[in-house]
């Protein structure tokens, strides 16, 4: 890509648990300043990957270089340079917002002045200033996530590892959270984020799709969408349940998703499959309207990729 050395570089990175290989020969190279999204179904190995990169799990096989250190040899050297945010809320419930921030500031060896400055600006940044005396367990889910992020950012790390930070958060908090991430991204922080939300993947500079422990696709979102095999048709049948059943097994149809009362049908070719679809619906007396071709989004691209791998 360019001559700057990558901030994360893994070669054949693998991690085995008792009976299964959670991460399987992962090769990733992430440049400083990237906002890299990891997507994939549950159990694909996203969390294990992030924990490996944060030095929280032993590497079973392969190697990883993080912020210039060999992760296997010097996991503790990596830690001061990385901000890691676990998937589940993992701050101290009985400590206040301010006490949590202070605790992590001390563990990351900030001096008194730095600590005060950093604390204040992060509280402001996360919109938590007026809640700073509140106990962490009395915060809303969205505020807890923002506090977690603030604690993760306390030492101004060049690399952020965020494990599904917005799961279970309401849409407004999610948007606020992403505004913060975008801001960090624009200031040059490298961010590696895993997410189950496709709209979030769309906001990343690059997306890696994990499936059964492997990285099966890695490209900017627009390329992933462009590479999508097939075309997308939207149709609103009078009885979507029956329509779904009838159309599912039709040849040339890759995937069908429901959106309210309408169906998004991913087909090999609209010209070939659309007449067939109409034909089947006619035969079963199902009326339909609003037939139109739409542009595919990450969600369809993602599902189509998974279908291809599974086939």
């Amino acid at each position: 890509m360019n001559s700057i050395s990558p901030i994360i570089l893994t070669q054949g990175l693998s991690r085995d648990f008792k009976s299964n290989r959670a991460v399987d020969r992962l090769d990733i190279s992430i440049q400083p300043g990237e906002l890299f999204g990891i997507v994939g179904p549950d159990g694909a190995g996203k969390t294990t990957t992030l924990r490996l990169l944060a030095g929280l799990l032993d590497i079973s096989d392969g190697s990883a270089q993080v912020v210039g250190f060999n992760l296997k040899k010097n996991p503790e050297s990596v830690k001061p340079k990385v901000g890691y945010m676990a998937q589940e809320f993992s701050l101290y419930a009985e400590l206040s917002v301010l006490e949590n921030l202070t605790f992590f500031a001390e563990l990351y060896d900030l001096d008194k002045n730095q600590m005060r400055e950093r604390r204040d600006s992060l509280l402001e940044f996360a919109g938590l200033t007026e809640f700073k005396q509140r106990r962490a367990d009395k915060l809303s889910g969205g505020m807890q996530k923002k506090l977690s992020l603030a604690c993760t950012l306390i030492h101004n790390p060049p690399l952020l590892l965020l494990d599904e930070p917005t799961t279970g958060v309401d849409p407004i908090s999610r948007r606020e959270f992403w505004n913060i991430l975008t801001d960090l991204h624009l200031h040059g922080t490298t961010i590696l984020i895993s997410t189950p939300y496709m709209d979030e993947a769309d906001r990343c500079t690059r997306v890696g799709l994990m499936y059964q422990g492997r990285l099966v696709e890695c490209a900017p979102p627009h390329e992933i969408r462009a590479n999508l095999k097939g075309e997308l048709v939207e149709i609103t049948p009078s009885d979507w349940k029956q329509a779904l059943q009838l159309l599912e097994d039709l040849p040339g149809i890759i995937a069908i998703q429901t959106y309210g009362e309408s169906l998004h049908i991913l087909v090999n070719s609209v010209d070939e499959q659309l007449p067939e679809i109409k034909n089947v619906l006619h035969k079963h007396d199902i009326k339909y309207q609003n037939v139109r071709q739409t542009s595919a989004r990450m969600e369809e691209a993602f599902i189509s990729l998974i279908r291809q791998i599974e086939a």
């Binding site: 648990f17 924990r51 944060a54 030095g55 929280l56 799990l57 032993d58 996991p75 503790e76 830690k79 001061p80 990385v82 890691y84 945010m85 676990a86 589940e88 809320f89 993992s90 701050l91 101290y92 419930a93 009985e94 400590l95 006490e99 202070t102 605790f103 992590f104 001390e106 563990l107 990351y108 060896d109 106990r135 977690s148 604690c151």
Partner: protein
């Protein structure tokens, strides 16, 4: 080692203890509560054991025996019966724990020095009460014999002192009235002060269960700072109990404290360090609080009960148990508490136990730090 990291973890842990009411109660009061429960549950004072008496002789002497036996409040005459069947019935009903049968030839056998023809039947399902009844009936009977024999000897015109060549007097030191609690409570103290070990075992697995350990392990904190930082608050709260418990022992259980309090305090600090080290090992190995709790009971409290010599003398244990007892902080600390409370011995005698505790504590911490890895799995 970083002093700031240590202080940060210690402060965080103190906040946690103070703000979580359950933890606070567990840390502050359970040793006292446990002391009360065990002191009362284990030393049951047997009093007023109900007995029945079947008197076949009905003489003045046999009546004075009965009077002698029922004079104190240790034995209670439930009823005087006329047949053996009645005794059986009362025993089966559970109304009496023992029965005394006085032989028809009681006084003549007594005066002709042929022995003491009485029979005692006890309820074998409650041997403690039964044995107690036997002891006390025998004691009273002896008193009666003494009185009767003295009278006879004096009637014969002999000097009493000249015919008593042996004068055996048993004196019990340190606990002259042989009150069971006086002996037991100082030993129990060594056990209940081990409770903070439970808290420290639970706090590590608590962090693991609540996911806070994950965030903590992602920071640059060293293993030793993390483990010590978690131990220190429990040493502190444990020391509050080191002060509180003797006060309870002295004020409530009337246990004499004859030793030096500062010495006791210093040795208790070392003991807390050692027992918390053991608790830390448990916390390091167990993933969940439930497992940590179970293992704590298995390696700290059950051996503390059976192996530390509080209830069963170590000298009578098989060798392997004696070795295991040596590795338990409670064994050494029980000697210290018993020594400081009753005979009031000083450092000249207790120092080897202090050294042992210090060594054990350091070994436990080393093991905990060795096996504690900054990894999640």
């Amino acid at each position: 080692m970083s002093f700031r990291h240590l202080r940060a973890v210690t402060r965080k842990e103190i906040f946690h203890i103070l703000r979580d009411r359950m933890t606070l109660v567990l840390v502050l009061f359970t040793p006292t509560i446990l002391l009360f429960i065990m002191a009362y549950a284990i030393t049951v004072d047997i009093r007023q054991v109900p007995i029945a008496i079947l008197d076949y002789e009905r003489s003045a002497i046999s009546r004075s025996l009965i009077q002698q036996i029922t004079a104190g409040d240790d034995l209670e005459l439930f009823s005087q019966v006329d047949s053996f069947d009645e005794i059986e019935h009362l025993l089966i009903q559970g109304e009496i724990k023992a029965a005394l049968i006085i032989d028809p030839n009681f006084s003549s056998d007594l005066f002709s020095l042929r022995g003491l023809p009485i029979q005692i039947i006890i309820d074998g399902t409650e041997p403690q009460s039964g044995a107690y009844a036997v002891d006390h009936i025998a004691l009273r009977a002896e008193e009666l014999i003494n009185i009767q024999l003295t009278r006879q000897i004096q009637a014969l015109g002999l000097d009493l002192d000249s015919i008593q060549p042996i004068d055996l007097r048993i004196r019990t030191w340190f606990n002259p009235s042989l009150k069971p609690r006086v002996d037991l409570v100082p030993g129990l103290i060594s056990m209940v002060l081990g409770l903070p070990a439970l808290s420290v075992a639970l706090t590590l697995s608590h962090e693991r269960e609540h996911g806070t350990l994950e965030q903590l392990l992602a920071t640059p904190i060293s293993r030793v700072d993390l483990l010590f930082g978690k131990m220190i608050p429990y040493i502190f709260f444990g020391l509050l109990n080191v002060i509180l418990i003797p006060l309870v022992a002295i004020a409530w259980f009337r246990i004499p404290f004859n030793g030096n309090f500062l010495l006791y305090f210093a040795l208790s600090t070392i003991f807390l360090f050692a027992i918390l080290g053991l608790g830390t090992i448990v916390g390091v190995f167990m993933r969940t609080q439930a497992a940590a709790l179970a293992l704590s009971f298995l390696v700290i409290f059950f051996p503390g009960f059976f192996l530390t010599g509080i209830f069963f003398p170590i000298a009578s244990m098989p060798e392997i148990a004696r070795l295991e007892a040596l590795a338990l902080p409670g064994t050494h600390y029980a000697i210290i508490t018993r020594g400081v409370f009753l005979p009031g011995v000083g450092l000249d005698i207790l120092w080897p136990y202090g050294v042992m505790l210090l060594g054990l504590g350091m070994a436990f911490i080393a093991i905990a730090a060795l096996f504690f890895r900054k990894k999640l799995a």
